[in-house]
């Protein structure tokens, strides 16, 4: 039974240890696949994206920098990048990703919630209070990699309006995390 920390598991992965690799995939597969599925929207393609994300994590494990985020954050950011690449190269993006960003109490497994603590609660709360237009614009940029111009074309508003929505949403989330003295130790959020 692997009871080591995420960082230690990643160190084992970087060293080429097959047991560490198996434990690492087992620990993160639900989060990685869940993110891929939320972005891609199609199970078969989501599996391919999730698998490629793990391969990249493995290949770059030795370059992980703990100053830039926790292991789960790093792993999921890689998955996000792979999914956006997949969308960019694929036949087309999902028509409406408005539901990609979670509402209520979805997401963030118990371990992650325990690690991130107040940060994840504040971030989730701030998301819940975003105006729908801002939330959609942010979701299109965050999870589909769309520029402001592309967001504007998608939702039928001028570029300037799309830009304003993206920026406003980001600033609200940033302010929410900056409240009460900034970020938690494990969150990096």
């Amino acid at each position: 039974m692997w009871s080591v920390s995420d960082d230690a598991l990643l160190a084992g992965l970087a060293a080429g240890d097959p047991d560490a690799a198996a434990a690492f995939v087992e620990r993160f597969q639900r989060r990685v696949y869940g993110l891929a599925l939320a972005i891609i929207g199609e199970p078969r393609a989501a599996e391919e994206v999730a698998r490629e994300a793990f391969v990249r994590v493995w290949r770059h494990a030795s370059t992980y920098d703990p100053r830039r985020g926790t292991v789960p954050t790093w792993v999921l950011s890689i998955c996000r990048s792979v999914a956006i690449e997949h969308l960019a190269l694929g036949p087309g993006r999902p028509l409406d990703p408005a539901g990609t960003l979670p509402a209520d109490d979805t997401g963030g497994g118990p371990e992650e919630a325990a690690t991130m603590g107040d940060d994840i609660v504040r971030l989730r709360d701030a998301l819940d209070h975003l105006p729908p237009d801002e939330r959609r614009a942010l979701s299109l940029a965050e999870f589909q990699g769309l520029t402001a111009a592309e967001v504007g074309a998608r939702v039928g508003v001028p570029v300037f309006t799309a830009q304003s929505r993206i920026r406003a949403a980001m600033l609200r989330l940033h302010s929410a995390l900056a409240r009460e003295g900034g970020r938690g130790e494990g969150g990096r959020a």
Partner: protein, 229 residues
């Protein structure tokens, strides 16, 4: 003549930069400003943390049956030949070297040793201390003697954070690039293939991002059998 943005202009575009959806000229102008403004860099880093945190909120989902096996197979198929063969040896060697290295590494190895047969390292190795210009130890270097040309490096955490390269050479004076690595807040360790141009490996050096040699090691065969566990 370039006209880099001001702080106000850069901050206005920072959200899109953090999301990596700012393109062309705007991105170039902002990057130029960021190169000389630590305050704006810090602001961008905070927004990037927001971007990186959002995926954590996405709901987990059960992958299809067999996902884990297929993923591990893919990782194995993508694995370099030398790494497949020496993977377990690498862990054992690094554990043997890691005096003062990250406790996390030791914990990983500890679990392995508790669960399985103690791994054996190569029968004959070449090893040396990696030292800085003043002769202070920075870590260890090990090269197993065998058909696989691999070097194992364990750093004790003394190197400042940053990007480095490991170069190596044989008895000639010509250096060959061996591996690029980053040093974070904890000790680092890695295994890397030695290019044919540097074999048999006699000397290694660590070069920082500015091109300065910050550590060096001359390798001497020790011949004795080494065993971990």
């Amino acid at each position: 003549m370039s006209s880099a943005y001001t702080c106000v202009e850069t901050r206005a575009r920072a959200p899109e930069m953090a999301l990596d959806v700012l393109g062309g000229t705007e991105r170039a102008e902002a990057l130029e400003h960021l190169g000389s403004c630590a305050v704006c860099r810090s602001y961008l880093a905070e927004l990037t943390e927001v971007v990186d945190a959002l995926p954590v909120l996405i709901a987990e989902a059960d992958p299809p049956v067999g996902f884990e096996r297929r993923t591990l197979e893919r990782m194995g198929a993508a694995e370099p030949r030398w790494r497949r063969r020496v993977g377990r040896t690498a862990v054992a060697l690094i554990a043997a070297l890691a005096v003062g290295a990250a406790a996390s590494i030791v914990r990983v190895v500890g679990v392995r040793l508790a669960e399985s047969e103690p791994p054996r390292v190569a029968a004959t190795v070449t090893e040396a201390r990696l030292v800085d210009r003043d002769g202070s130890p920075l870590g260890s270097v090990v090269v197993p003697t065998g058909s696989e040309h691999v070097v194992f490096v364990a750093l004790d955490g003394s190197l400042p954070r940053g990007a480095y390269t490991l170069d190596g050479r044989d008895d000639s004076r010509v250096w060959s690039h061996v591996h690029r690595f980053d040093v974070g807040r904890s000790a680092a360790h890695f295994a890397a293939a030695i290019p044919d141009s540097a074999w048999p490996l006699r000397v290694v050096r660590v070069v920082d991002a500015s091109g300065s040699t910050v550590a060096r090691s001359a390798l001497h065969p020790v011949g004795a059998a080494a065993r971990a566990g």
